[in-house]
């Protein structure tokens, strides 16, 4: 299976070329994808931690999230 391609536009000449990625470039894209996945996992974990904190506060107050929503509506 051939590697994906990239589009290169030379701004001096205006010539556009479609070039098959090298194996190294494919590996770099995969690495970037790993980093992106790690970042998303970190963001998801931060969001989950914030939600836990909110629930802990509600528990201290003795209120359910529905009751808080009713108070704020």
């Amino acid at each position: 299976m051939p590697n994906p391609t990239r589009i290169e536009i030379n701004c001096e000449t205006g010539i556009e070329t479609v070039i098959e990625l090298t194996d190294a470039e494919v590996a770099e894209l995969a690495y970037q994808a790993e980093l992106a996945a790690e970042k998303k996992a970190e963001e998801d974990a931060a969001a989950a931690a914030l939600e836990e904190k909110k629930l802990a506060v509600l528990e201290k107050l003795g209120l359910t999230s529905d009751e808080v929503a009713a108070l704020l509506s």
């Binding site: 701004c11 994808a33 992106a36 970042k39």
Partner: protein
């Protein structure tokens, strides 16, 4: 639009998609650069948008960013000390034939200081999940920018057909 806003080059992705859109041999005769893009990815990683990364002069190092997001259900912020982030494309999970749009501003690209940029982007989706983002990137390198590559990380596939990117030069901004 200022009359010094000049189209340098543009590209539309053809059938089969493209992993990246690369502008090379960018002339140093402008003050700033602007890239306007419309993007969709051919795959997804479980979300309706796909991040767009960039390299300047082929470099994927010395990048950092700060961003704020709204995704249809909540607002959030994020940062990275290693990644570039230049907005997002609508992913294959978004309504078919929808595309994101983004605007990248790169001031003083030919100067000899570190290169900052800002991106304002929003994905499109006929649903409750879509992403709006404002991002500030820093490429901590003092070289003049002579090439820019916009990339879709491979987990999200490729730039889909009909994605576009337009590179403008701004003089005396």
């Amino acid at each position: 639009m200022a009359n010094t806003f000049i189209l340098i080059a543009s590209s539309t992705v053809g059938a089969g998609g493209a992993a990246s859109i690369d502008f090379t041999s960018i002339p140093s005769t402008y003050t700033d650069l602007v890239i306007l893009y419309s993007g969709r990815s051919t795959s997804n990683a479980g979300q309706t948008w796909a991040p767009i990364r960039a390299t300047f002069n082929g470099s994927s190092s010395t990048w950092s960013n700060r961003a704020i997001y709204g995704d249809g259900s909540s607002a959030s912020s994020g940062n990275s000390s290693s990644l570039s982030e230049f907005g997002q494309a609508s992913s294959s999970l978004s309504t078919s034939s929808t595309f994101s749009n983004g605007s990248i501003y790169i001031p003083n690209y030919a100067g000899s200081t570190n290169k900052s940029s800002s991106t304002d982007a929003v994905s499109e989706n006929n649903g409750t999940s879509a992403l709006a983002s404002l991002t500030a990137d820093l490429w901590s390198t003092t070289s003049a920018i002579t090439s820019i590559s916009l990339q879709i990380p491979s987990a999200y596939g490729l730039f889909a057909q009909y994605s576009t990117a337009y590179l403008y030069g701004v003089k005396n901004a």
